[in-house]
Amino acid sequence: MNPASVTALNVDEIRKQFPVLNRKVNGKPLIYFDNAATSQKPISVIEALAEYYRNYNANIHRGIHTLAEEATKAYEHTREQARAFINAASPREIIFVRGVTEGINLVAASYGRAFLRNNDEVIISGLEHHSNIVPWQLICGQTGAKLKVIPVSESGEIDLEAFTRLLSSRTRIVAVNHASNSLGTINPIKEIIRLAHGAGAVVLIDGAQAGAHLPIDVQELDCDFYCLSSHKMYGPTGTGILYGKSHLLEKMPPYQGGGEMIKEVTFEKTTWNDLPYKFEAGTPNIADVIAFGKAMEFIRQTGRDVIEQHEQALLRYATEKVGSLPGVRLIGTAPQKVSVLSFVVDGIHPFDVGQLLDARGIAVRTGHHCTQPLMDRYGIEGTVRASFAVYNTFAEVDALTEGVRRVINFMR
């Protein structure tokens, strides 16, 4: 069976929208399988950036001239798009940040400092990216709270029973990812959120690996905070969103002080601006935010279900092909995964595999993927990770398989 026939997507048409895919690397056509690190950008996003600087660059809010008004409107339009993208109740709950890392740091520093006390507990999972570990370690160090970690099974799944046992009246915050960047595991976050709320804790979801791949409905999930990075969703680097329930954001102190986030300033006392501006100190990343809107539009127009279906077909195909090569061991075999294929090859270091694939124009990521504790869990230094996006093809997966096969044959 030709696997391409099972997806409804016209990949050729999609590929035409991504100029970088015409590139050659080492004399070979680029095959870009490093999408979990950052995705490529469609022409609509690239043009939105240029268009802003060419036509209506101006600082937003508080401006009465035409350009300021146009820029403000475009910026706030992205906020509304983001609200719709994750089905938040109000645009006041959408805060623009640099990305997931800043979103988590904001919550840890603001909510954490205000509400964590000595011997309170913060729970994360063994699947977390360093961005969802270190900010909590920092705030625990400052407040005397303790960090607890949910163990991960051999297949790469969160142990829900162990989680239930970790939860207690001391638990204040639970922070887990929606999907794992190293293994692809899609976590049962709805259940995690329900259990955490039962213990009276708030829940932050790191959605870095979900934004481009999974439907997100923060109201249905009932999560308290949700973080996204634009650059992993076909959008520009340097922006992303933090969603927070408004009643929580209201009672949190500001994260940074400066322009934009204030209502009135005197040397004696300053009052904070309303949500979401209270958390957006200084001139924001206007151009990238506006272009981020185009990225969400691209995902919506292509259809999240169509994208998901295509990527899942690629993942199944790659799992079967690469997974059956001699000496290949897949790391992360959960039944529900986003399009991430992580593997090691017996006796061959991931760096060597990555470099040899690059020689054939194939971009994969090698190493610990910013999840060192998870690599320790498997007793490995790192993996080779191929992660798929909407513009990838079955022929590209064949090239990957062939590339890995050549490395194996050479080394034996």
């Binding site: 760096f351 470099q355 040899l356 020689a359």
Partner: protein
């Protein structure tokens, strides 16, 4: 005994046969690594790691009959091949020749193009370590 520059010229002509094909070049480098004299397991200590390499590279040096002899290994095959090039060039040379060597073969074979910036920086760290060893052994020789 070939000089450092004779050995560099040899390497340059071998690489020329690969006609700039990145994949073939990497395979060739790994093949060279396979031929490297095995390093004693006991020498693979953290103290002997070259700092500045992303891969693990162990390197030791000793003086014998006023010449320097190296032993090396790495946990990745390409890096092992790279360090084997240096061992081939520098093994059995005098400390002074090593300290003053000009490694023109690196740019001549276009190394950065096929191993990338990160590994090139690692390679530079290996060269530096080799020269430091030579300097230390020369000092020892003089006392």
């Amino acid at each position: 005994m070939k000089t450092i520059n004779q050995l560099q010229d040899e390497i340059i002509s071998e690489f020329a046969l690969l006609e700039g094909d990145t994949e073939m070049t990497l395979f060739y480098i790994m093949e060279l690594g396979e031929k490297l004299e095995p390093m004693k397991e006991a020498d693979k200590t953290d103290d002997n790691l070259v700092k500045g390499c992303q891969s693990k590279v162990w390197l030791t040096a000793r003086l014998e009959n006023d010449r320097v002899w190296f032993s090396a290994d790495s946990n990745t095959a390409i890096t092992k091949g790279l360090v084997s090039l240096l061992v081939r060039i520098f093994n059995g040379q005098t400390p002074d020749d090593i300290i003053h060597a000009d490694l023109y073969f690196i740019s001549k074979i276009g190394m950065e193009r096929f191993i990338g910036t990160q590994r090139s920086n690692g390679f530079a760290a290996m060269v530096k370590q080799i020269k430091l060893y030579a300097l230390a052994l020369k000092t020892k020789q003089e006392v």
